[in-house]
Every structure is written in C-alpha cells, then in structure tokens.
C-alpha cells in the first residue's frame, strides 16, 4: 500500500500539515512513536489520577489555520483574548502586576502609559511582520520573480511603517531585551515579566545580544487565537485530520527514512519502522526536528558534508525543564485571589540573568526562575476532585550538566524549585503528593526531540527566516528529493502555532 505522503510525528505541526495535504486529496499517513497525538503538547499521567501536558497554553494560533481546518467545529476552544500574565511580587506585602488583554494593573500610571507606548510600537512592527510568518521565505540568491516579490513585499511593508518606526525597528531588532525594557520602564518586576516571552526556550537571558525582540514579535502576531487548554487544540487537530481522511498510526517509531539513488539525486521513498515494517510513499514529511530528521533518520552520509555540518551545528540544546506537581488542594499564592493564566516567579531581570549565568557553565541555577500555571483550573479533569495540577517552566537548566543529570542534581533542582514556590505560596510544599521533573535530557528521550529543545532550535537571528534551520532546507524542502520538513525547526519556529506545518503543506502542494 502506498501513500502520497507519510508525515513523521503527530505533533501539532505534523497534524496541521497532514490535514492540509489530505484536504487537497492526498493519501496521508501519520506515524507517531507515542501512544497518542500531540508530541510535546500531549497529556500524560504523571501521578495517580493527575495528568498534564508539557505545553498548557496556545498563545498565538493563526485564525486562518483554525478556519481552514474547521478546528472550532472539531472542539478547539480558541479565543481572541490574551492569556493573562501575572508577575508575583516576592514581597508578601507587595502588589502583584497583572497584564490582562493589554491592560496593566499593579503599577503606577507612568508605567501604564509607558506600557501603552511600548505595546503600540511592538504591535505596529508585529503587524508588519505578520504576513511573513505564514509564508515560505525564499532563499537568498534566487531570482525567480515570485520569490523576489516576497522580498519586495517585506520591503514595502517595512517602508509602510514610516520613517520613525522603521528606524526604531532597525535600532531595536538585535537589542538585548533588557536595554529595551530599561528604556521604557522602571519597575523591576514589570521588566522581568515583560522580558519573559522574549527569552523562553532559547539560550538567551535579558542581557544576551541577539534578537529576543523577534521572538517577542513572533508571539504578538495579529489575528491569532489563544487557549488555556492546549489539549483542545490537539484533539481538534487530530479529529480534523482524521475527518479529512488522514490515517494515524500510533506507537510506531520511524527508524529511518528510506532513500533510493536516482541518477540525478537521492530520493526519499518511504519510511522503515522500528518493528521492521517498510511503508512506501511519494514523499516523506518530517515534523521531527531537523537534526533528528537529517542526521538520524536520513543519516549524515546521505547529505553533502557542508550541509550535514550546518545541521549539526544548529543550537538545539534545551535549557527549560518542566516541573509538574500533583497538589492535594489548590495552592494559595499570597495576595492573589483568583489565580489564572501564567505567573512569572522572577523578582527582576537580574534574577533571570543570574539563573542563566549558572547555566552558562553547565550548572543548575542556585535560584531558578519559574513560569507557573495551574492547568487544572481550566480543565478540572486533569486532577481528582479537589486536587490541582501545577506546571512550571524552569529556567535555566542546561541540557549538558557539569555533573550530568544524576539523581542528586535532579533532587537539588526540585528542592530549589520548591523553595521558590514555597516562598510565593506558603504551605505549598505540604500539598505536594507527587512530582515529575522533566529535564531537557528527559524531553529528548521521551519525545525524540534533539537537545530536548521545544523549538527544535534557538529562536535567534542566525536561526530564523531563510536561515531556519539552515540554508538549503529553509523552504521546507531538503537536499533529499521528496523529503520535507514541517516542524518547529523550520520557519517561522516553535510554540503551538501550526505555521511550519501549514507552510510546508503549501510548499508541497505548490
């Protein structure tokens, strides 16, 4: 039995790509190594009766993909409201800062006004870039008219910003996020909170030069949907894909992409599964990260030496660990009445920087900084009645530990995380009845993602746009004829957006 396309991995990008291909009449098979769809966003039971996913929130899912794939009909509960963001004041008597739908509370009027200015500037720039996320970025040095038009379009869009905004964009695009926030704000907590989304997932701290700003702008794209239940997106995508005729085989690990030499080039002909089964297809589309896809499933020996070298040097060592706590009852954060959305537990930008300093030298942070959510607030089914799930992103925990990720290091990190949590929510420690700590190494092993990196590679200037994952594979095609990439390692990047999957499908159907 032969397919038009085999999609490797039933993560959200794999499902989006598969659904688009199937909607255009292709016979599509998705092969997934886990026993469920969703990849890093899939739920698992980490303690008796307590479930959690590594990703809780959908923060900017394009409306267009949702409409094309009928996701609302299939149960996606996406809304246009931002996920509320709260900075928790480490001082028990101090005020927290909340950001809800673009409005700040907990800071003085001056800061609020500055925030409106800051937000409007970023919004204007974000809407300039927005059309390019859902587009293949042409390679440099290719003079096809349609591809030149893409660059011309970007140029026009930039020009349309007006002189002041364009100058400002060029000035701040590679600025450390700290410098930008220092210009606008005084409140240390506010700055820590606003820097978070510029940094999370990549090897960057507030003082790191590179373009944390682009990561921030990417996450501000217009016309996008949010949801506090990533699971609703995954289930809707799975249902939509199946409804379009996609066949999904779970618990099947792809061992390698089969390659056949043709006179002109090498050609992907299908996949070989770990159980020995061989499935043929006209093309193979991988939502696995570029390093796994090209160096493991294909093999460096099938590639040009320079290309394999570029893939090998993709910065994809994850720095984020996931902490899941099973709580007997809901925790009480001091001074917070109705907790919802995301909480940043980092007193100031320096706290984030110090945590990064430890990580730079391969050590876990003395005082980790955390982004905390309580997913069971949005979905009570995740915990037994009365219980609560706490999920945290822990920064920065290097993939390569000076002391390896032995039990002692894990216990130490867990204890340090609990210390931080206990400070903000006194008594929380006593509520804990189960814990799970997933280090980047655990994420790599469990989800087959190289380096345990959520985004399949840092979101940084040298790994973005026509450089993502590297030239020669940035248009979703690879040097192996019939092998495509559709995961977060491709333009525009990570988070639950489905855009790489959408763009890859478009490129395949072109």
């Amino acid at each position: 039995m032969s397919f038009d396309a085999i999609v490797i991995g039933a993560g959200h990008n794999g499902l989006v790509c598969a659904a688009y291909l199937a909607k255009h009449g292709q016979r599509v098979l998705v092969v997934e190594s886990q026993d469920r769809c969703g990849g890093l966003a899939s739920q698992h039971e980490f303690h008796d009766g307590y479930r959690c996913a590594n990703a809780q929130h959908v923060s900017h899912f394009p409306e267009r993909i949702s409409k094309d794939l009928n996701l609302v009909k299939h149960g996606f509960d996406g809304a246009y409201a931002d996920i509320p963001l709260t900075w928790l004041n480490p001082d028990a008597d101090g005020a927290h800062i909340a950001l809800v739908d673009g409005h700040l509370s907990g800071v003085d009027a001056g800061e609020q006004a500055a925030y409106q200015q800051y937000r409007h500037l970023l919004r204007r720039i974000a809407s300039m870039l927005a059309p390019f996320w859902l587009k293949t970025v042409p390679p440099i040095g290719n003079n096809h008219l349609s591809e030149m038009m893409s660059f011309a379009h970007l140029g026009l869009k930039m020009r349309a910003l007006g002189k002041d905004d364009m100058r400002e964009f060029l000035r701040i695009v590679a600025l450390p996020i700290r410098d930008l926030l220092d210009e606008y704000f005084d409140h240390p907590g506010l700055k820590a909170m606003l820097s978070w989304d510029a940094l999370i997932g990549s090897r960057q701290a507030p003082r790191s030069p590179n373009n944390s700003l682009l990561a921030l702008l990417y996450r501000m794209a217009d016309r996008s949907l949010t949801s506090a239940r990533a699971d609703s997106l995954i289930c809707a995508l799975e249902a939509s894909a199946r409804a379009s005729g996609v066949e999904i085989r779970l618990s099947k690990r792809v061992e390698r992409v089969t390659i056949e030499p043709r006179s002109e080039c090498l050609c992907a002909t299908g996949v070989e599964l770990a159980d020995g089964e061989h499935i043929e297809a006209v093309r193979v589309v991988s939502s696995a990260d570029p390093k796994t896809t090209l160096l493991q499933l294909v093999g460096g020996d099938q590639l040009e030496i320079e290309f394999a070298g570029r893939i090998n040097r993709i910065r994809d060592r994850g720095l984020v660990s996931k902490l899941h706590l099973a709580l007997r009852t809901a925790p009480t954060f001091a001074g917070l009445e109705a907790p919802r959305g995301r909480f940043i537990l980092a007193p100031m930008m320096d706290s984030i920087e110090w945590a990064f300093d430890d990580a730079k030298y391969g050590r876990i942070p003395q005082v980790p900084v955390l982004e905390v959510t309580l997913p069971s607030l949005a979905d009570q089914s995740l915990a037994p009645a009365g219980g609560q799930v706490l999920s945290a992103n822990v920064l920065y925990t290097p993939y390569a530990q000076a002391d390896n990720w032995d039990d002692m290091t894990r216990q130490l990190l867990l204890a340090r995380c609990l210390n931080v949590l206990e400070h903000y929510a006194p008594g929380l420690r006593d509520l804990v009845i189960g814990t799970e700590l997933l280090t980047p190494v655990d994420l790599e092993v469990r989800y087959g993602v190289s380096g345990g990196h959520w985004h399949h590679g840092d979101i940084a200037l040298d790994q973005l746009i026509m450089m993502r994952p590297t030239y020669g594979a940035a248009q979703y095609r690879t040097p192996i004829s019939g092998l495509f990439l559709c995961g977060a390692g491709s333009h525009p990047g990570g988070d639950l957006t489905g855009i790489p999957g959408h763009n890859a499908a478009k490129e395949i159907l072109r």
Binding site: L266, D301, E306, N312
Partner: protein, 398 residues
C-alpha cells in the same frame, strides 16, 4: 631585557630524517612545509633530478599529512567524501583520490591506503583535520587519528630503486605491483612500502614510525650506494612531477577551502581528472554539482603544452593568436624538460579556445636584461614522460 624573542612555536621543525638530510643541504636551502623543514634542493637541483631519472633518489615526504581512518563506518565515510569508489578498493591497495566541496570545487587530492577492511590511511599535502571532522558527522563507528607527526615517510624513486631495495633485503619487493602495499621487517626495523610516487618513474614510498626513521634511512642508504642513491628536494620534484603529468596544489589548482575569490579554485573536470569522478556511486560530496558540470562541460581545461623554443613559460599568458589580442589562459607550471628535451607546461585554457591556435607570451631574463617572445604551443594529450620501465612487474634488475 635583551633576550631574543621566543619563536619556538612558529619555528619550522626538523623532520625525523633531518639529522641525515641536513648533512647534504650545503646551502641550507630549506622551505617550510606544514611546519617542517623541507629541502628545496641539496646543492644542485638538476643533478638531483638526473639521479632520479637515471639511478635513484630519496625525497623526505614526512611533512605529508597522514590520517588513520578506522572503524565500521570508515569505508562509508571516505566513500562519501571522495569522488572515486572506495568500496572497490581491495585491502593492500592504494588509490589516488580527490575530494570536493558540495559545489564540486576541488579541496585537495591525495592517496588512500586500504590497510584492512575497516582501516585506511589517507595522505595529502596540507592539513585536513577540520574537513575530516566535518565529513565524519553522521557516522558513529569511526576513529580518525592524525598520524602526521608519528609517521615518517620517504619517497624512493628511480629506475634502480627496486634493485636497491632488494639489496637492502626487501624480499619480494619486485613482486609488488603499482599501487600495492607490502609490509617488511628487517631485524627490529618494521615499515610499510607502497609502490607509489610523484615522479612517473619506478618508485616506492616507505612509511615508518618516527623513532625508526634514521635506522630506515641508514639501511636504505647503505644498500643504495651502489645504485646511485641521492637525496632530492622540492625543485627536482616539481620537474619530475610535471614531466609525469601530475598536478600540484598551489600550482594547477588552489585548494577550495583556502580560496576566497569566486571560482579561483577548480573542479576535477577543469583539471582533466574526469576518470577520477565516479558517477556510478549514488552519493558523494559534490556529486550534484559535478554531474551538472559534466553535462555542460568545464569552462576551462588544464592542458599539456609543448611550447616552441627553450624558454620556460611559467607564469605566461596564453593567447589565441600571435597578435596576442585576447588572452585565453595562463601557464600554471612550465619547465625545460631534460628527459623529453622539450619546453613543457601545464596551462589553464578556456575550453572553447582549445581547438584553435595557442600562443604563449613568455617573459625571460638574461643577465638582468628582460626579453619577451611569442611562442607557438602544441597540445599534448598524454603525459610528457611515461617510461615503460616504470610499469613493469617485476622491474628491471641492475
């Protein structure tokens, strides 16, 4: 402070044979090759040349880069890197190979020795560690060791070389065919001999651990005395290899990884090495680009020229008419060849002009006065010098 600066890290090092070679190097004519002292000439380059063509000569090739590549993936790794089919090599054989960038530009040439099913030695003129490391990405069972400093090597070339080695006690050396390897033990002295070289003559290369280098030299020299043995240097080597039609990095091509200007490097097809590129192999580095080039034909072609007169044409422009209005190429290497008795050269010429007239504009000097002449060039298809005796197995006895 008036102490001399310490240049110890920059200083060119003596090779393992230096204690012997320096005695011959009357004028101290050393150059630096990969950080080692290499003799340009000992005292008379032409004498050294004639020794190789008529008797035998030794050339210290210890500065060559030598890499051991071993492991289950060694064959696949090398096979992907070079343009020839390594899988066809038998154990105990040597193969001349090229390796290219993904764009099909020549990085370097060298030789691969198949020491065992899963063990190879790669030799080349300049350091390649970085490229080998990059080429190893994606292979698991692979060990690459740089043996350049541990292994000493001598190139022993000339019509009497085989007889001298037999006299030295290398039983069976006469049965070793071109591009074959054999190991020898003389008492405590153990080394490897391959019937390879860079002179186009009968010849061998001897590979020995650095500690045993002098013992090998002494044994060889003692045996070679009756056969006219003499050390030779780079100048003589350059004459010998040009007569034999062998290209040299830095003359016929600029190594691609050291080339900054666009297409100032070359492709195998431009160098006339078509037979060294095996498209039957499903994949090797540069295959796609080379396949495209093989279809459209090389833009320029390395051409062997017999130039009228006796003024060496090194550095000359080549024109398509005696009027010299439009240059169509340049000479990469040129000498007066004593054995062929002709003014020979390699020239890189625009392919579309190869079939027409070719003229070299030669500048030369006589006692500080400068002259120039326009000399007609004739294309030679085969090597300038390829003597029958070099190919015989067993070689002629002396």
């Amino acid at each position: 402070m008036n102490s001399a600066p310490d240049f110890s890290l920059e200083r060119a090092l003596p090779t393992p044979f230096h204690a012997r070679t320096q005695a011959f190097n009357l004028e101290g004519r050393w150059s630096s090759w990969n950080g080692y002292l290499a003799a340009e000439q000992y005292f008379d380059a032409e004498l050294e040349y004639f020794k190789v063509r008529n008797a035998c000569g030794i050339y210290d090739i210890s500065p060559m880069q030598k890499y051991h590549v071993s492991g289950r993936d060694a064959e696949a790794m090398l096979n992907r890197m070079v343009t020839r089919d390594v899988t066809k090599m038998r154990v105990g054989r040597v193969s001349y190979v090229l390796w290219c960038t993904g764009a099909g530009r020549l990085i370097d040439d060298g030789t691969i020795f198949r020491l065992a099913e899963d063990a190879f030695m790669l030799t080349c003129g300049s350091p390649s560690t970085a490229w080998l490391k990059k080429s190893a990405i994606g292979f698991d069972d692979l060990v690459i060791k740089d043996k350049s400093d541990d292994l000493a090597a001598l190139s022993f070339q000339g019509p009497t070389s085989c007889a001298a080695l037999r006299c030295m006690g290398l039983d069976g050396i006469e049965e070793v065919r071109p591009f074959e390897i054999r190991r020898f033990e003389l008492g405590a002295l153990r080394f490897m001999a391959s019937r390879t070289g860079f002179t186009g003559d009968l010849g061998y290369e001897l590979w020995v651990s650095a500690e045993d280098a002098l013992a090998l030299w002494d044994a060889l020299y003692a045996a070679g005395e009756d056969f006219g043995i003499h050390p030779f240097g780079e100048v003589a080597t350059n004459m010998l290899r040009l007569e034999a039609g062998f290209i040299m990095p830095g003359a016929e091509f600029n190594e691609a990884l050291k080339t900054i200007r666009f297409e100032h490097d070359q492709t195998p097809f431009e160098l006339g090495l078509d037979s060294m590129v095996d498209f039957k192999k499903p994949h090797f580095n540069g295959r796609t680009a080379l396949l495209a080039e093989s279809k459209r034909g090389p833009r320029v072609s390395l051409t062997k020229l017999d130039i009228e007169g006796n003024k060496p044409a090194a550095g000359s422009f080549i024109y398509n008419s005696k009027a010299c209005r439009r240059d169509v190429g340049y000479v990469t290497s040129g000498i007066w060849s004593p054995v062929v008795k002709a003014n020979i050269a390699f020239a890189m010429i625009e392919s579309k002009h190869i079939s027409g007239e070719l003229w070299a504009h030669i500048n030369y000097e006589k006692e500080l006065r400068h002259y120039s002449k326009i000399a007609r060039c004739q294309i030679k298809q085969s090597p300038f010098y390829a003597p029958q005796h070099a190919k015989l197995t067993p070689p002629a006895d002396f």
